[in-house]
Every structure is written in C-alpha cells, then in structure tokens.
Symmetry: C2
C-alpha cells in the first residue's frame, strides 16, 4: 500500500499551467515531460484539465507539443468547448468578455441581443470600459445569466502574480446581484464530464494541480484524491491552508508521479 | 403624527450624487436646492453624507455652490478625510488605487513600503495593470489590510450605469483572501461619526439616498430611518428589494422633504 493513500489510482487529471510549464515561460518544468510519459507507460488514464482561456484548444495542444509533451487534442479539457455546448443546449446568445486570442473558438456563435455574459481570462481586456459593458448587458437582461470560465484567483507569469478570471466574476456578481455559473474547475459538472470521458470512478482518480482551492479542493469535493505541487502559483502558506488539506504535497509533477505510481500497483 | 413614521425627526443625512444632482449632469435635480433650504429653514440639523471619491472635498463643495446649494465644507462628509484619520491613528502607509483627481487629498501621506491598500472610485484607473499592482501589494504584506472607500455597486452617469468601487473591492477580497474595511457608507463607524458631529440620536435622524443597500439599508442598520428617492441609481426593482424595506419612498428629494417636515413637528 502507498504511503499517502489507501486507494488504488487508475486515472490521473493533470492541470497544465503551473504543473507542466510555468505560465509565460518557454520551457517545461524540470522532469514534467518525463513524468507524463511515465504515467502513460504505466497504463494509467490521463487527462489534462485546464481553465486556460487565453489560448484556443488547438494553440494549447501545439504549444505542449513544441515543449515536448505527447497528448492528443481530445485529451485536453479547457472550458471553451464545454461552454459552447451549454450555449447550444440552452439556446443562449453571449456577450463575451474574453481574450481576443480565443475569439476563433466562438466563431459561429450568435452574439446578437445577448441573454447571458461569459467571462474568460481576458487579461488586459479587463478594463473599466469592458467591465461596464458586461455589467450593463447583465442588468439589461430579464433574468441575468453570468458564466465564468473557471474561478481561479490568480496565477504566476514570469515571476509575477496576476489576477485570474475569478476576481472579475466576483466583481460582476456583486454589481449585478447574480451568482455566476462556473464552467471549468472547480465546478463539479466540469470535473464529472472529464471523469465520464475517462471512464474511471472518482475514487480511483487523482488530480495534480498548483491551485489549492480550484484544483485540489475542487477534485476532493468530487471524491477524487488531490496532490498539491510546489510549482506554479503554489505559495508556502498553502501548506497550512485553512480549509483544503491535500492528500499529498510534491515538489513538482515528477515527484507527484512517484507517489501516483506507488498507489497504482 | 406623520403618515409614514411614529418617530420625531430632528436631523437629516442627505446623499449627494443621485439625490442633489444626477451624476455627470450639470444641473440640480428639480426642486433639490429648495428642498435643502426648507430643511435648514425648519431648524433641522443637516449633513451631507457621500461616498464621493472622484472629487476632493473642496471641489465637491465648490460644485454644489455653483449648482446653487448652500452648505459649508464642514457639513460634507466624504470618505477621504475619514480614511486619512485612520491612517494616522494606525500608522499605516497606503498603496493607493484612487481617482487621480483626489490625489491632492493624500498630499503628505507616506506611501513608501505600503502596509495597506486603499481603493477609491478610480473609474478608468481600474484597469488590469493597476488592479494587479494593488493585488501584488496586498499579497506582499504579512497581514494584508484592504480599505474600501464605500461599497457602492454602481451609479448612473449621463444615463449609463457605471461600476462603483464595491465590485473592485470584492475582486481584490477574493483574489487576496482578505476582508476589506469599509470607510464610508454603509459602514457603522462612518455613520456614527457623522451622527456624533450632528449631536442627534440615531432614532431621530433620517437618511435620504438613492442607493437602497448602502444608503437606506446602511442607515436603518444604525437605527436611523431611511427614505429611498426615485432618482439617481434607483431602479424599479428596488421597490421590491428582498432585504431592505425603506421607511418611505419619494419621487425625489423635494417630496422626501415634505415627508420629513411632516415628521419633524
């Protein structure tokens, strides 16, 4: 039996930014390419579960290939393909506040006379003008519907901590007195759709992430194990987090994979 | 006895923007100059209680005089003089995210090596860069201290609803996992300081405002009466607000003053 869990691990969800590579950096985190190879070689089901909304799914796959990782586009689960399904199903026309780079992923989506607002990681597009426009769109709706692509607080890019989409969602929730529907981590619906694709019970799956609330806490809430890596947006105070207790900490993905393989036998 | 309250009114707090004039407009709201005169002529104590942080106290007084109102600068209570007292008392050095126009009100305040962050109504200065800088300042502190100058959700300016400081405070609270201290309405400390200056019991004071939560709800929480005017940021759904029930509604300040004078006899 593994030292850190009594469960048998059969499937692995990996966060991408901050786990495979540092956001903004042009190289993988030491050992992470090898780590992914070892998981696959051991026959474990692996999916890449990300709230990345500054690149299209295609751009993200290409970036990972250039960095030396092997995976297909279908193994990568970002929020945009998921929200596009929701729009179709519920007949919704969005007002978009997103990164211009991912606009192609919304090609063909009807944005006239919007009946919902979608917030992605718009980075520099999060300015007073655009936030006012999104707010005005919301309050003009009979029943305001707000979607947030993930609920991350911040991430680290080139050594700097930068605000993620979550804080801006909180701003609009407060301004328009609405509760956002989260599409992406840590939403249960989102995690469940990935688990279904893997066809492995939550009990036998571990999520590896750098975000203690969204990755580790979110996965644990769905019945999975959660390993916190000390890369990406990890901060020392995460070791004593008031509400989330990871099943294990690991210095990086390679060290996390040692723990996972130990629990997969 | 007045038709809307059993209490006797001896003092009045008036919100400024949206009650005396529409934000952004160059003229007073119909009848509001006369309304203030009538309150003063009746011998009631009157104070102007505002979360305005886009003008210095001096600029605001001058603007009101130009519009035809009579009051002294000392009768106007904006958040900046209050926060400056707090900084001095607690030996705090702020990182400021404020409207450049009010920078003179912070002249002489030490902003080196900041140990707190102050958010005012920074309007177009609320951009991704400045919000990141405020966030980074907060997380760099051993014990992050965040002050918000008011907690308004939005206001109306030239027919447009625009985000106030509150949503941005919620954004930074979530990002840095801190709770802001509000200086301004609806903070009890702030209302209490104005009541002390008036020397009238809360029981005998009525607040007139256009913001149902911050003005009316805030005043009621402090034991005052609250009248909601149907000007400024008022929206029809405020008539059925889920938590705040104003003691009375009035079409504008002049109509509110009729109610107040009725209750002052």
């Amino acid at each position: 039996m593994a030292s850190w869990t009594k469960r048998k691990v059969k499937g692995v969800l990996l966060d991408i930014s901050g786990v495979l590579f540092e956001s903004g950096a042009g190289v993988p985190i030491d050992g992470s390419v090898e780590a992914v190879q070892r998981l696959k070689a051991a026959g474990l089901a692996v999916r890449f579960c990300t709230n990345e909304t500054t690149m299209t799914r295609g751009m993200l796959t290409e970036k990972l290939h250039v960095l030396g990782f092997s995976m297909s586009e279908q193994e990568i689960f970002p929020p945009i393909p998921a929200i596009c399904k929701v729009l179709q199903k519920r007949n919704l026309r969005p007002h978009l506040l997103i990164n211009p780079k991912v606009a192609p992923d919304f090609d063909g989506v009807d944005t006239s006379d919007p009946n919902c607002v979608i917030l992605g990681d718009a980075t520099t597009e999060f300015n007073y003008h655009n936030l006012n426009k999104a707010f005005q769109a919301l309050v003009a709706m009979k029943e305001p519907v707000l979607f947030s692509l993930g609920m991350g607080r911040f991430y680290r890019e080139q050594g700097e901590l930068l605000l993620d989409v979550g804080p801006f969602t909180k701003a609009l929730e407060f301004a328009a007195d609405v509760k956002a529907e989260v599409v992406g981590k840590p939403s249960q619906t989102f995690f469940t759709s990935v688990l279904e694709d893997m066809n492995v019970d939550a009990d036998n799956v571990v999520m590896v992430g750098d975000d203690i609330v969204s990755d580790v806490g979110g996965a644990q809430s769905c019945g999975m194990l959660g390993i916190q890596v000390r890369t990406g947006k990890f901060r020392p105070q995460d070791e004593e987090h008031p509400t989330v207790k990871p099943d294990a900490f690991a210095d990086n993905l390679l060290a996390a994979v040692d723990l996972i393989l130990e629990a997969s036998k």
